[in-house]
C-alpha cells in the first residue's frame, strides 16, 4: 500500500501535526518504507484467529462510584500554558 502525497496530508490532519508542502515528500518516502515492512504481515492467513489486544485477556475492573480524588486543580494548573479562573485558555472555537 503506497501512500500518495494526498494521503500524507490527510494523515497529518488526522494526527493534528502540521506538515508543510516541503516536508510531504520526505514523510511520504519514510512512511512508505515503514509500510514495506508492515506489508509482510499480509502474507499470513489469519482466518478464524481471534484478535489479541491484551496479554492476559483481562476485562475492565470496576469500582464503587464514590469520590476518591482530592481537588488538586491549583497544582495541576500551575504548570499550564494559560489559565484564568480555573479554566484552561485556548483560542476561541465557537463564533
Amino acid at each position: 500500500m503506497l501512500l500518495s502525497s494526498e494521503d500524507v496530508k490527510r494523515i497529518a490532519k488526522l494526527a493534528r501535526i502540521r506538515v508543510d508542502n516541503g516536508e510531504v515528500t520526505a514523510y511520504q518516502a519514510q512512511l512508505n518504507g515503514i509500510f514495506g515492512l508492515i506489508e509482510e504481515m499480509q502474507a499470513v492467513d489469519t482466518a478464524g484467529i481471534e484478535p489479541m489486544s491484551h496479554a492476559q485477556d483481562l476485562f475492565q475492573r470496576l469500582r464503587a462510584d464514590t469520590v476518591s480524588e482530592t481537588d488538586r486543580r491549583g497544582d495541576y494548573q500551575a504548570i499550564a500554558p494559560q489559565t484564568e479562573n480555573g479554566l484552561y485558555l485556548v483560542p476561541k472555537v465557537i463564533e
Binding site: M1, L3, D7, V8, I11, A12, L14, A15, R16, I17, R18, V19, Y27, Q30, L31, G33, I34, F35, G36, L37, I38, E39, E40, M41, Q42, V44, T46, I49, E50, P51, M52, S53, H54, A55, Q56, L58, Q60, R61, R63, R72, D75, Y76, A78, I79, A80, P81, Q82, Y88, V90, P91, K92, V93
Partner: protein, 490 residues
C-alpha cells in the same frame, strides 16, 4: 567515614549490607555517586536531570530512618530513574521538547514504591523521545554515549539508564520496555535488565507509549539485584486498569535453585542466518556453560515470531497515536508561541514539540486506525499477536525457559542507522515478540566481541515465572564474570 573507591562497583545487595553494617551512610553513598555523575555525565549524557539537594534530602531521611531502627533492606540505597516516570517536583521530560518544561505534580506508582523503600533518586536518565527508539539518538537532549565506546550508541530507549549503570554512575536504574527497550540497551551496555510479565508493575505515572506493551523493570549489575529491585517495583495498583492483583511474591526466592533438570528451549528462528559472528559464538558458549551447570536444551519453534516486527510497527504506533494525542499545548507541556485558531495551535505545537521519529509513528498509527484500513492492518496485527503468543504457549510445553541472543549486533556507531527507520527497527528482532505475548524477559551479559563490545544473552520466561528466570541468570552469573566487567577508565 571514608569510602573505598571500590564501592562504586558495589551491587545493590552489597550496598544494602554496607548500610546495615553501619560502614557507610546513604548521604556518603549519594555524594560519591553525585560526584561521579558530575564528572562523567558531560561525556556520556546519561542524565537529563540531576538535583543534588533533592537527592541528599532523601538520603538524610533514609539515614534518619535507619538511626530510628525503622529501615528496610534497601533503605538508603540510591537508584536513578528513566525520565519517563513522573516524579513530583522533578522535571519529567520523556526525552522530548514537548515536556521540556513539565515539572511533575505527582509521583508514578514506581516512584512511590522506591520512596516507600527509602531509596533516594540520583536523577532522571536520558531516553529516546517518548520511548521510541533503539539507540537513544532521538532524545531532544542529545544522544547518550555508550561507556564501552563513546562513539557508539548505548541502545534504547532506556539508553541513559543502561549507560549510567554500565559506567557505575548509579548502582541500578529503572527502565521501561515496550519492544525491547530494557533488554536491548542492557545487552549493548553489558548489564542485566528485566522486563516483567505484563501487568506486574503498575503503569500509573509512567508516560504511555503503547499501553498494551509498556512495562517498567529494573536495570542493574546482576540478576540478584534485578530480583531485589523487582520486589520494590511490583505490586497491584488500582489506578492502573491493567495492573494485576496477585499475591505478593519474593522474586529472589529461586536464585539458589540448581539448574539440574532445567529444560531450556532454543527457538530455531533465533538461531538462523541472522545470528552470526561473535554474538553467535558468545551465545553458544553460554549454552555450553548452562549445560555444564546441569541444564538440558531442546529445540523449539516460534514460527510466527518472524512477523513480530511488522505486527509491532502497526500496534505500537496505533496505540502511540492515541496516547500522544493528549499533547496539545492546552493543559501542560510545550505550546507553540504563535498561533491563530485552535487547530493551528494544535498542529504547530505538535509539529514543533515532537521529533521526527515520534511524528512518523503517530502518523503510521493514525493511518492504520483510520476508516478503510483498520481491518487490513490493525486487526490483522492483533491476530498475528495471538499467533505469536500461541507459539510461546506451545514452546513452553516442551521447556521451562527460552534462550537466545538479545540483539542481532553489538553497539553500532552513532548515526549508523538513523538514515533508514526500518534498519533501526530490526535491532529489536529478538525482543519484540516477548512484549506482544506479554511474557517476562531479561538480558544478561555473556561475553564481548572482538572490539570489546558487550554481548547480551536473552532469557524468556513463562507468564509470572520471573523468579525461575532470575534463578537461571543468577546461577550463570555465579559461574561466569561477564557481569562484573566495567568499561576502561570509569
Amino acid at each position: 567515614m571514608p569510602l573505598m573507591p571500590k564501592t562504586m562497583t558495589d551491587t545493590i545487595k552489597q550496598l544494602s549490607n554496607l548500610l546495615s553494617e553501619g560502614k557507610a551512610s546513604s548521604v556518603e553513598l549519594c555524594k560519591d555517586y553525585l560526584d561521579r555523575i558530575q564528572r562523567r555525565n558531560p561525556t556520556l549524557n546519561a542524565f537529563i536531570s540531576v538535583d543534588a539537594d533533592r537527592t541528599l534530602i532523601e538520603a538524610r531521611a533514609a539515614d534518619a530512618l535507619r538511626a530510628a531502627g525503622q529501615s528496610g533492606v534497601l533503605t538508603g540505597v540510591p537508584v536513578a530513574h528513566k525520565d519517563i516516570f513522573c516524579a513530583e517536583g522533578w522535571l519529567t521530560t520523556c526525552g522530548s521538547k514537548m515536556l521540556s518544561n513539565f515539572v511533575s505534580p505527582y509521583d508514578a506508582h514506581v516512584i512511590e514504591q522506591f520512596k516507600a523503600a527509602g531509596m533516594p533518586c540520583l536523577g532522571k536518565t536520558n531516553m529516546d523521545e517518548f520511548a521510541m527508539g533503539s539507540s537513544n539518538e532521538t532524545s531532544f537532549y542529545g544522544p547518550v554515549r555508550n561507556p564501552w565506546d563513546t562513539e557508539r550508541v548505548p541502545g534504547g530507549s532506556s539508553g541513559g539508564s543502561a549507560a549510567c549503570v554500565a559506567a557505575r554512575l548509579a548502582p541500578a536504574a529503572t527502565g521501561t520496555d515496550t519492544g525491547g527497550s530494557i533488554r536491548q540497551p542492557a545487552a549493548l551496555c553489558g548489564i542485566t535488565g528485566l522486563k516483567p510479565t505484563y501487568g506486574v508493575v503498575s503503569r500509573y505515572g509512567m508516560i504511555a507509549f503503547a499501553s498494551s506493551l509498556d512495562q517498567a523493570g529494573p536495570m542493574a549489575q546482576t540478576a540478584e539485584d534485578c530480583g531485589l529491585l523487582l520486589n520494590v517495583m511490583a505490586g497491584f495498583d488500582t489506578r492502573d486498569s491493567t495492573s494485576l492483583d496477585r499475591p505478593k511474591e519474593d522474586y529472589t526466592r529461586s536464585l539458589n535453585l540448581p539448574l539440574a533438570g532445567l529444560k531450556i528451549g532454543l527457538p530455531r528462528e533465533f538461531f538462523g542466518s541472522g545470528l552470526v559472528g561473535d554474538t553467535a559464538k558468545a551465545v553458544d558458549a553460554a549454552i555450553a556453560q548452562l549445560h555444564a551447570l546441569g541444564a538440558q536444551t531442546v529445540e523449539v519453534g516460534l514460527p510466527n515470531s518472524k512477523l513480530s516486527v511488522a505486527a509491532y510497527y502497526v500496534l505500537a504506533p496505533a496505540e502511540a497515536s492515541s496516547n500522544l494525542s493528549r499533547f496539545d499545548g492546552v493543559r501542560y507541556g510545550y505550546r507553540t508561541p504563535e498561533y491563530g485558531d485552535l487547530t493551528d495551535m494544535y498542529e504547530k505545537t505538535r509539529a514543533e514539540g515532537f521529533g521526527g521519529e515520534v511524528k512518523r509513528r503517530i502518523m503510521i498509527g493514525a493511518y492504520v486506525l483510520s476508516h478503510g484500513y483498520y481491518d487490513a492492518y490493525y486487526i490483522q496485527a492483533q491476530k498475528l499477536r495471538r499467533l505469536i503468543a500461541n507459539d510461546f504457549t506451545d514452546a513452553f510445553k516442551q521447556c521451562d525457559v527460552i534462550l537466545g541472543p538479545t540483539a542481532p549486533s553489538t553497539a553500532f556507531r552513532l548515526g549508523e542507522k538513523t538514515a533508514d527507520p526500518v534498519e533501526m527497527y530490526l535491532s529489536d528482532i529478538y525482543t519484540i515478540a516477548v512484549n506482544l505475548a506479554g511474557l517476562p524477559g531479561m538480558s544478561l551479559p555473556c561475553g564481548f566481541d572482538a572490539q570489546g563490545l558487550p554481548i547480551g544473552l536473552q532469557l524468556i520466561g513463562n507468564y509470572f515465572d520471573e523468579a525461575r528466570m532470575l534463578g537461571v541468570a543468577h546461577q550463570y552469573q555465579l559461574a561466569t564474570d561477564w557481569h562484573t566487567r566495567t568499561p576502561q577508565g570509569i
